[in-house]
Amino acid sequence: MPIKNLAALALLLTFNAAASDFEVSGKVAVEERYFFETNQYDNQFPHSQTSILVEPEFYWGWNNGDDTVTFKPFYRLDDQDSERSHGDIRELSYIHASDDWELRTGIRKEYWGVTEFQHLVDVINQTDGVEDLDGEDKLGQLMVNLSLVKDWGIVDLYLLPGFRERTFAGEDGRLRAPMIVDKNNVSYESSAQEQHLDVAMRWSHSVGDFDIGTHWFHGTNREPILTPEQDGDKLVLRQYYNQMDQFGLDVQATIDDWLYKFESIYRNTNDGNFWATQAGFEYSFVGIFDSNADLGLLTEYSWDSRGEGSIQEPGASFQNDLFFGSRIAFNDMQSSEVLMGFSTDLDHSATSFILEANRRLGDNFKAVIDIRVFNSSDPIEQTYAIKNDDHLQLSIEWYF
C-alpha cells in the first residue's frame, strides 16, 4: 500500500512537472586578485584578495512560458574588504506575457543603451560599485514594468518604488578614494528619501538598419554627490542623492560590417544640469589570417558639458575622453575570447588599460583573466585616486 501511494505520488509529481517548468541553474566563482603595487592609503591590504561568489537562479514557468517566476539571489564573500562581502537579490520577479503586452513585477534588472565604454542612458538600476569598475554590475531594482508591443515600437512604462544606495569599497579595500564613502548618514533631496516613487518611460524600435531608443526618467539620481565631511577624527565622503529628470536617446546603425553607436542624455537637477554624449563605431573583420577568428575594433568618444571641473568642484569623469578597444573571438570549441580596452583623457594625462580573456574548460567551467592598469598624474582626474591599484585577476567559474 505505501509503495502504491508512493507510485501515485511520483506519477502526480511527474504530471505537475510536465504542466510547469522548473529549472535551477547558476554560477559559483572563485576570484583571486593581485595588486602589483602596495597600498596607497592606510588600512588597505597590500597585495592579494580572494573572494567567492554564488549566484543561483531558480525559474518556474507555466502556461507555455507566458507566466514565469524567477529568483536570483547573489552573494560575494571577500577575505579583505568587508564592504565587498555583500549579498543582493538580483531578481525576484513575476512576468506575465500576453500577445502584445507584458507585465513584469518585482525585483529586476533592465538594461538600456548601445555603447560599450560608458553607459549613459542605462539608469534604471543602481551600480553595484564593489563588483567591478566598469559599472556593468547592477543591484536589483523593485519595479512594475508594463511593456506594450506596437507596430511603431515597444513602449515600456515603469514605476520604481524603493531606491538602492550605490556600493563602495570599504576602508580595508583597494580601488577607492583616499577618503572612504560613509554608508551611514546618507541624505536625499526628496523628503520621501529612499522611498521616493520614481517613474520612467522608454520607446524603442527597429527601423531597417537602425535601432532607436528614447527615454525619460524622473526620480532619484543613481549617482550620488560625494562631499567630504568630518566624522569623529577622520574625513569621510557623505552621499547625497538629488532628484533628476533625464531625457536620453540611443541609436545604433548596423550597416554591413560597421556598427555606429550613439548615446546622449540631458539631465536636469537642482544642483545643475548637463548634456553628455558617448558615440563611436565598431568594425568587424571576419576570419582574420585565414583562421576562424574574428577581430572587432571599437572606438568611442565621450563628451560632457560639465567639463573637467576643478579640485573644489569636480566635473565629469568622461568629459573629453577617447576609447579604443579590440575584441578577438577565436570561434573555437572553448569559445576563447580576448577583449582589450584603452582609454585616454584628452584634457589631462590619464590613461587606463583593461584586458579580459576567457576560455571554457570542459563543458561547465570557465577561466577568466582580467588585467586593469591605471596611469594618472593629475589629482583632478578620478583615476588618480586608484593609480596604485593596477591588478591582475584570475577567476574560475563553475556553471550548473
Binding site: A97, E102, E110, V114, I154, D257, L259, D363, E397
Partner: protein, 265 residues
C-alpha cells in the same frame, strides 16, 4: 490596356507549356533552378515550427563538446523566415538567445540577448562564413534556404543511399559567403537533400554534410533526424540530432521580437 494584358497572359501560358513539355530544351542552369524551386515549393506551408537540436562537436583527438539548442521558426510569405535560437548548453551561455529576420537577398537583421547583462545587442549579420558556436557548421549552413541566395546548374543524376538523386551545383549570390559552390544531392521521389558538399574560396572540397533518417511531418514536411558535417581539411566533425519537431504550433509574429527574445527559454 486590357488587350495587352491578355496577349501577355497567353504568351506566358505558351512559355509555361513549352518549359514543362520540352524540358530537354532547358539549359542545365534552368534545370538546376527548377529542381531547387520544386524542393522549396514542396516544403512551403509549414507556417511555424519548433524543435530541439543537440550539437555534438568532435575534434581529431576524439574530444567531444555538447551544445543544446531550441529553435523556433516562423514562415514569412515573400520574405525570409523569422527564427529564435535559444541556448541551454554549454551552461555558461544558458539563456543566451538569438533573433534573426532573414531576407533572401539583403543582409539579415539579427539581435543577440545576453542574459547576464540583460542586454539586447543588434549584431552585424555579414559574418555568414564564421563557425556557429565553435562547430563545423557556419552560420550560413543553418539559415533558411531561399531560391534567390544561389544560382544553379544541374549536373546529372546519381544514386546515393539507394535513392535516385538529382545532382545540382549552387553558386552563392552573396560575396560574403565562405563558399565558391555547394553540390547538393536531392532524391527524385521527395526532393529531400541527401548530401551537400561545400567548396571553399579556393574551390577545394571543405566539408560534406549528410542527412540521415528522414521523417515526414503533417504528411508533407520531411526533416532529417540527424545531420552529419565532416570537415575534410581539419578532420573535425559536428553531428546535429533533432528531436521534438512540431509544426503549426500557433507561433505568431509577436513571438519574434525584442521582448520575446528576453523572455524565451
Amino acid at each position: 490596356m486590357f488587350k495587352k494584358k491578355l496577349v501577355l497572359g497567353t504568351l506566358s501560358a505558351i512559355a509555361l507549356a513549352l518549359v514543362s513539355n520540352i524540358s530537354i530544351a532547358m539549359t542545365p542552369e534552368q534545370q538546376g533552378l527548377e529542381i531547387s524551386k520544386e524542393a522549396k515549393q514542396r516544403d512551403l506551408g509549414w507556417i511555424d515550427s519548433t524543435a530541439d537540436m543537440l550539437m555534438l562537436l568532435r575534434n581529431q583527438q576524439g574530444q567531444e563538446s555538447i551544445r543544446e539548442i531550441k529553435i523556433k521558426s516562423l514562415e514569412v510569405d515573400d520574405d525570409g523566415d523569422k527564427s529564435l535560437t535559444i541556448f541551454n548548453k554549454p551552461r555558461d551561455v544558458k539563456g543566451t538567445a538569438f533573433l534573426s529576420f532573414s531576407h533572401p537577398v539583403d543582409a539579415d537583421d539579427q539581435w543577440l540577448y545576453l542574459p547576464a547583462l540583460k542586454r539586447v545587442k543588434r549584431i552585424a549579420s555579414r559574418n555568414k562564413s564564421g563557425p556557429f558556436m565553435g562547430s563545423e557548421f557556419a552560420f550560413e549552413d543553418l539559415s533558411s534556404f531561399e531560391i534567390e541566395k544561389y544560382s544553379y546548374k544541374y549536373l546529372g543524376d546519381e544514386t546515393i543511399n539507394g535513392l535516385e538523386n538529382f545532382k545540382v551545383e549552387q553558386y552563392p549570390a552573396d560575396e560574403n559567403s565562405g563558399y565558391t559552390k555547394r553540390i547538393v544531392w536531392l532524391d527524385k521521389n521527395e526532393y529531400r537533400i541527401q548530401k551537400i558538399e561545400f567548396y571553399d574560396r579556393k574551390n577545394a572540397l571543405l566539408k560534406t554534410l549528410s542527412y540521415v533518417d528522414y521523417k515526414q511531418y503533417l504528411g508533407k514536411h520531411w526533416r532529417a533526424d540527424t545531420q552529419k558535417m565532416l570537415n575534410h581539411q581539419n578532420g573535425k566533425s559536428t553531428e546535429l540530432k533533432w528531436t521534438n519537431y512540431a509544426f503549426k504550433t500557433g507561433l505568431k509574429d509577436g513571438d519574434f521580437n525584442r521582448n520575446s527574445l528576453k523572455r524565451v527559454r
